[in-house]
């Protein structure tokens, strides 16, 4: 077991996209953690006299229209993005995975109902529906998390169900059931561990989509509210200043691009490493 684990870590690190993805994601996560104890400048204090300054030695990424330090804003904003994406993935996996496994285990009627329900949720464009939810229940971080989370449920349910269905006819499962293990026991002991790699890969992808969705919702004013910095809202505020202070749009935009790129590379690498089909 120990040796197998070591080989898979070694294999993972020799995978280039996994390695680059890990570094980028790790850097973003580190920035978010550091922002709890230190940022170059406090983001609550406005300095109107020093507004719209381009990048310089004092403000590495320049200042915004209120004179706030953009680097500090991006660091604190990353917390928001990561928290929203992480919790919404947790909601999606926490509800979707059990549903998918339950459907695959029980088959027939229950499975049919779950699959149709999945299709129903899939039929709504996720981001538009998230806009609808936040418009009805009011803008705010919590509502954004719930809205994005709800549309993660069918994604995880589908992946879990499809993988579980392919496992149920396998010999080791049949053997387990022959020795008298209950369906729930088999699901926990044999199905879930074998489905997990796929779910981790899917989770990474949903995480990056969650970051994009959060930025989109904040951009239209439905995500987290000021004074809490948010990448999407920074982009929105930069929009009318693009001709006088392009750095205001550039850096939050880059932050989103790099984070999403890093997560996708990480997901790709993980799939190569974890999925036996790619060996």
């Amino acid at each position: 077991m120990n040796i197998a684990w070591q080989t898979s870590v070694g294999k993972a690190l020799s995978n280039r996209s996994f390695f680059i993805g890990l570094i980028i994601t790790g850097a973003i996560a580190l920035a978010a953690l550091v922002s709890f104890v230190w940022t170059p400048y406090p983001v609550g204090a406005f300095d109107i006299a020093g507004k719209l300054k381009p990048p310089s030695a004092t403000h590495w990424l320049g200042t915004d229209h209120f004179g706030r330090d953009i680097l500090s804003m991006i660091m604190i904003g990353s917390r928001n993005s990561i928290a929203v994406a992480f919790i919404s993935v947790a909601i999606g996996a926490g509800i979707g995975v059990p549903l998918g496994l339950w459907g695959a285990a029980s088959g027939s009627f229950v499975d049919e109902v779950l699959v149709r329900f999945n299709d129903l949720v899939f039929a709504f464009p996720a981001l538009l529906s998230a806009v609808m939810i936040t418009a009805v229940f009011g803008p705010g971080t919590i509502n954004a998390i719930v809205a994005i989370g709800i549309f993660n449920i069918p994604v995880f349910a589908r992946v879990a169900r499809a993988a579980a269905l392919s496992l149920w006819p396998r010999e080791f499962v049949i053997a387990a059931s022959a020795v008298g293990k209950s369906t729930a026991r088999i699901t926990l002991d044999h199905i879930l561990p074998n489905v997990a790699p796929l779910l981790i890969v899917q989770g990474t992808i949903q995480f990056s989509l969650g970051i994009l969705a959060e930025a989109g919702l904040s951009y239209v004013g439905l995500g987290s509210q000021p004074p809490m910095p948010s990448w999407g809202r920074m982009l929105f505020e930069a929009q009318t200043m693009i001709s006088i202070a392009p750095h205001m749009a550039l850096f939050p935009g880059l932050a989103i691009v790099i984070t999403v790129l890093g997560l996708n590379l990480l997901g790709d690498g993980l799939r190569d490493v974890l999925d036996p089909k790619f060996e």
Partner: protein
């Protein structure tokens, strides 16, 4: 062969006619930020209504000119009795409404009686409060008797809320406005644009434009793009202050920064604790740095005000020092009011830039003295419903763009500020009854001082009129003495 000749000839005709129509192009596209809820100025408070119909579609007995002066409109002349209580209006001859019905004294009586009726939905009933009765002397003469002399009467009759409508069409004016003006209503594509066209049988000087389109562009970035691309030729109130220098440097555009009647205030719910405490209200006013606010939210455009009165008015007194920026004093006042540790509250912000951006700055400044104001962005409909109508708010930011509106702090229903000050109400009554210039100035100054000391709202700054239009366009108003886009002289 014959076919080709025909084709060539028709192409030539088409080309000729298209160049002819280009040469005679007299259409103008204007950008507006807010779409009006409907188009009846006698049944709604929204400035967006008047910005389209005032002086273009509808006219009153008098009208307000570009400098805020009272000019004759449908009444060609008037006389005032010696006691100042009876006005006799002589009406213009041969005036017709856009639907062909004729205009006369009966329409004036109908409009004024309708506006001051108990069931009236007029948003500014106060304008008509002084009227005792309206009598028809002959088809072109109307006599209006007042309960007491009113210095503002002729001015009041020039408001968009006091326009003359016809009994035949009055109920349908919300969707198909029928007035007497130089333009008639053409079409309204909801969410997109409103088109008005020249009235070919106008009684006065006809309009120079054949057609004017008001295009609704709520997004500041889209407004900038639309102007640069030439999709709109004029933005009478341009919403994106930060891009103004860019237009100033561009010879294709004319940038005109004028004055408006828009006193921008931080409204407080005066009946709701802790804002019922004068010291709390004063603390909030002292916590706000108007210069920071104007520089940060308005990019330096706007004049600080210390009371509810426009700085360009002859009776204005600068009272900004009464509530100067002094966070130490603000903290002290807050402690005296029993809130030494501050408190939590909410700040509801309508969509305009001055409110959303200003709100962030004010929230940060209030945090400095310990007040945590949670920002709640609301759309206009929500704002009108929650804040204006139901008074369900703590703090809000809004600009009051009506002219001569000191009296909103003296309304019997206390307005949305919930400010109830009998002495001030008495003072405003006196102002209304006095028509002597110097006496009036004195009373106006007194009233400004009462508000500056009582702080029913924190007075922030006077909104500028940021007009940007194509350098070739002429005749648009420089200032905004009343909510209007008068297009009669635009070419």
């Amino acid at each position: 062969m014959k076919f080709w000749k025909l084709a060539l000839a028709s192409a030539a005709i088409a080309w000729l006619s298209s160049t002819v129509s280009l040469a005679a192009k007299t259409a103008l596209v204007l950008g507006i930020v807010l779409e009006p809820p409907h188009l009846d100025p006698t049944a709604g408070a929204a400035a967006a209504i008047d910005e389209i119909v005032y002086a273009n579609i509808f006219e009153g007995l008098t009208r307000i000119g570009p400098k805020g002066d009272v000019l004759p409109a449908l009444a060609e002349s008037w006389t005032k009795s010696d006691d100042g209580k009876v006005y006799t209006f002589k009406l213009h001859r041969d005036v017709k409404f856009h639907d062909g019905t004729s205009f006369g004294a009966d329409d004036v009586k109908f409009s004024l009686d309708r506006a001051r009726d108990g069931k009236s939905t007029n948003a500014q009933k106060g304008l008509f409060a002084a009227i005792d009765k309206v009598e028809i002397v002959d088809p072109l003469t109307v006599k209006v008797s007042l309960k007491q002399p009113s210095g503002d009467f002729l001015y009041n009759m020039g408001w968009g809320d006091a326009v003359i409508v016809a009994p035949e069409s009055a109920e349908l004016n919300k969707q198909t406005p029928i007035g007497t003006g130089p333009f008639r209503f053409d079409s309204w594509a909801k969410g997109s644009q409103i088109v008005i066209a020249k009235n070919p049988v106008y009684w006065g000087t006809p309009a120079l434009l054949d057609k004017a389109t008001f295009r609704v562009i709520p997004d500041p970035a889209a407004a900038t793009a639309a102007l640069l691309a030439g999709d709109v030729q004029a933005f009478p109130v341009f919403p994106s202050y930060e891009t103004i220098p860019q237009f100033q440097a561009d010879p294709r555009f004319k940038v005109v920064i004028g004055t408006t009647e828009g006193e921008t205030v931080l409204g407080m719910n005066n009946k709701k604790p802790p804002f019922d405490n004068l010291k709390v209200r004063q603390a909030i006013a002292h916590a706000i740095d108007r210069k920071t606010l104007i520089d940060g939210a308005m990019f330096g455009l706007g004049t600080p005000i210390g009371s509810f009165f426009p700085p360009h008015h002859p009776s204005y007194v600068d009272l900004t020092s009464e509530t100067n920026y002094d966070p130490q004093l603000a903290k002290k006042l807050l402690a005296e009011a029993g809130h030494a540790d501050g408190f939590k509250t909410t700040l509801k912000l309508p969509p305009p830039t001055y409110a959303r951006r200003g709100g962030e700055i004010i929230a940060a400044e209030l945090r400095e003295i310990g007040i945590e104001a949670e920002i709640i962005p609301v759309e206009w409909a929500q704002w009108l419903d929650q804040v204006f109508k139901n008074r369900d708010y703590d703090l809000t930011i809004v600009s009051h763009t009506e002219p001569n509106d000191l009296n909103i702090f003296a309304r019997d229903d206390d307005y949305y500020f919930n400010y109830d000050n009998l002495a001030f109400k008495e003072l405003v009554k006196q102002i209304d009854a006095v028509s002597d210039g110097s006496k009036r100035t004195e009373l106006y100054k007194q009233a400004q001082k009462v508000l500056a000391n009582d702080v029913p709202a924190a007075f922030l700054f006077q909104l500028p009129k940021t007009g940007i239009w194509d350098a070739k366009v002429e005749g648009l108003w420089e200032n905004g003495p009343i909510q209007a886009n008068d297009l009669t002289a635009v070419k």
